[in-house]
Subunit: 412 residues, 2 copies
């Protein structure tokens, strides 16, 4: 433990967890996806851009709950709105008027969107978008980029254990950034294709992030128009860190359906589906509902989050802080003799070691060392900035990165 943080409490809790939860912790938070032995397993509390784990160790967090924390943990304006709504009611037999206010707000700020609906998970709204597209077009096929992550419903779950092949019967995959392939598929099968679902940029785990090349999104938009298919933007992971009108706006593209979740309520559980006027009728004919979809507190939290994001210029700030982080990392990597690749936009960056191989060995040592020293990066999932990151936090993280690069040097 001379190398920084120790995890005795985390380890004890994890041993308890393994007895009553398969794998101890499952899904994207599984410790199996981090650097074994170098990360905590359980968090105690959060404030601003800082987390504290159950051993009392403190971290500057660049994982942000895997996206949702966009302003900062325990943000005063959001939590004040939550307090006010909680005193009234949350889950009630009928919704609160906050639902209407949030739909109005989203419609008002989002080009092309004339209505909104709410759910709990990103996966819920991506699936709901497909259903509306099928209902509107009377067609069955949907097109996605190969290996893209759109959630855990059977049609898109990348790990197919337990999901029958029939769940994927109507899905066709294309190569990201290959306009020609998309054009060929739509030319051939356009009459059967209800929708093309794309993320604004490619951000798969275990890969560099890839921005859309040239006119890729614009071309996809045009091809959908030409063939009567709908363009769905899965903005679940990227929303509210690139453009308040939806991330595809950065490339001048307006989708027919727009899926949000994660950052929409700064950590409160909510997802949203926005759509065009032409799809209103189809949306009203697809039955999708959930006990907690319209609970008032997360919706109140979202209203406050959107207000704060807009008023504070948070997206520009995250861009600037992310740029400072990325430039600082590239510089320190070079000084230590490493070739690293920074990919993705600065507010949703990712760094890996060039030629690190499929094991991500250097990344795992680097991120593990940073964790021990109080900075949470992820070895093979993109990172996130939040508005709470200030210059001094970036400076502190960069100082830690120097030590982490030294650890990689020592290990290889």
């Amino acid at each position: 433990m001379g190398d920084g943080h120790g995890f005795a409490e985390s380890d004890q809790w994890f041993a308890r967890a393994e007895r009553v939860i398969p794998g101890g912790i499952y899904g994207h938070q599984s410790p199996a996806l981090l650097t074994r032995g170098e990360y905590p397993s359980f968090m105690h509390s959060g404030d601003g851009c800082r987390l504290r784990d159950v051993d009392g160790n403190r971290y500057i967090d660049f994982i942000c709950g895997y996206g949702p924390i966009v302003l900062g943990y325990n943000h005063p304006a959001v939590e004040k709105a939550v307090d006010q709504q909680r005193r009234l009611g949350d889950t009630m037999t009928l919704p609160s008027v906050r639902t209407v206010e949030l739909a109005e707000r989203l419609v008002g700020m989002t080009p092309g969107a004339e209505w909104a609906m709410f759910a709990k998970n990103g996966s819920d709204v991506c699936t709901w978008a497909l259903a509306i597209a099928r209902q509107a077009t009377g067609r069955e096929l949907v097109v996605m980029a190969d290996h893209a992550y759109h959630g855990v419903h059977g049609w898109c779950n990348g790990i197919t254990n337990g999901f029958p092949d029939s769940d994927r019967a109507s899905v066709r995959a294309v190569k990201w950034n290959d306009s020609a392939q998309l054009e060929t598929l739509l030319d051939q099968d356009g009459e059967r294709i209800a929708a093309v679902i794309l993320t604004p940029f490619r951000h798969e785990a275990f890969e560099d992030s890839v921005m859309p090349s040239g006119e890729y999104l614009e071309k996809a938009r045009a091809l959908c128009h030409r063939h009567g298919a709908l363009l769905i933007s899965d903005d679940v992971r990227t929303g509210f860190r690139l453009d308040m009108g939806g991330s595809m706006q950065k490339w001048g593209v307006t989708p027919d359906l727009l899926c949000y979740s994660k950052a929409i309520a700064n950590g409160h559980a909510l997802s949203a589906l926005l759509g065009s006027e032409a799809l209103r009728d189809a949306a009203s004919k697809v039955f999708v509902t959930g006990t907690f979809y319209l609970q008032a507190v997360p919706i109140a939290a979202s209203l406050a989050t959107l207000t704060e994001l807009g008023a504070s210029g948070a997206i520009d700030h995250m861009h600037a802080m992310g740029l400072k982080l990325c430039e600082g990392l590239a510089e320190r990597a070079g000084a230590a003799g490493f070739d690293v690749r920074l990919s993705g936009p600065p507010s949703i960056p990712y760094m890996r070691f060039t030629d690190d191989g499929t094991g991500f060995d250097r990344s795992r040592v680097f991120c593990g060392a940073a964790s021990r020293l109080g900075v949470l990066f992820h070895p093979h999932h993109n990172w996130f900035l939040m508005a709470a990151h200030q210059e001094k936090d970036i400076d502190e993280a960069l100082a830690v990165s120097e030590q982490a690069f030294a650890s990689v040097k020592a290990a290889f």
Copy 2:
């Protein structure tokens, strides 16, 4: 408005809602499913068993948020636990130890369960249960009762608009309470059947509730054992109102997989999947995750809810209050010259007018009149009791029911 509550504010908000949300309010909370013009559309606040709508009208609520409110709105012990956890953290980059505590608690109180996992929606965990069953058995087919409601995923959404036929390719439906049909199906196709998913009793909307007859559940349990299929209990709607060890325990049956949501955290968004030791490995191999699945606040709320339910004898109390309500309704119906059918267990009761036809015309007048007079019943969905219902609330509701029966008499 001489007939009680008026809904001017609700109506204004609903007109705004219709402009930005398809249908205004969608899903199970859609006003289209209640008695048009006789119910509010938006709630303002709740406390105990009482709700207040945006016009200031007050109600004794027997819909309970369609299940989740099992202790009462704004319950002090639950909200105290929520306050404590909120000061620490909710959605964090890694889970809190509350996750482990809740899994331990559920395993400790549930016969046959050796592990637990958490999600947000009932539909999430029913689908997850099927995936684990398929992974464990290497088989693809699942059996459900015809028209049973297990959520809105493609395999079970009763309204198929927008969902391709292939989503239901692996599902076989049987008639509820027909052991012989289930036996025949398993004898024929047993080697291909991964699981049978059943609710503890039949509680479909637009129908009387139907309890399992004779040895139905026990027979289903035995047939699954014989054919190597798994029995899944969908306890999403029924959980924590019949038996704290899972509702099928009332009939002496222990399922292999148990799905909870709704009442598990008294209105905070959470669902849980519990399973047997034999399924632990399969559960760890199915990838299901969601950004908010392990957020700490709903899990802390669940711990407090389960403590309070157990310590207060809430299930017995809800049974007693439900019995008083049902007996009082039957008596008043008879006195008014109506033949009504009370179905379901007293804590999850449902009343309809015998020979009311498919339009539920008398039920709609009855429930609409009750709403105008300050009691929320539902014309064609089962009702719920909560621990906050006291004798005086039942007496008040029964007094209102007398006037509502008189309204039906006047209308027909």
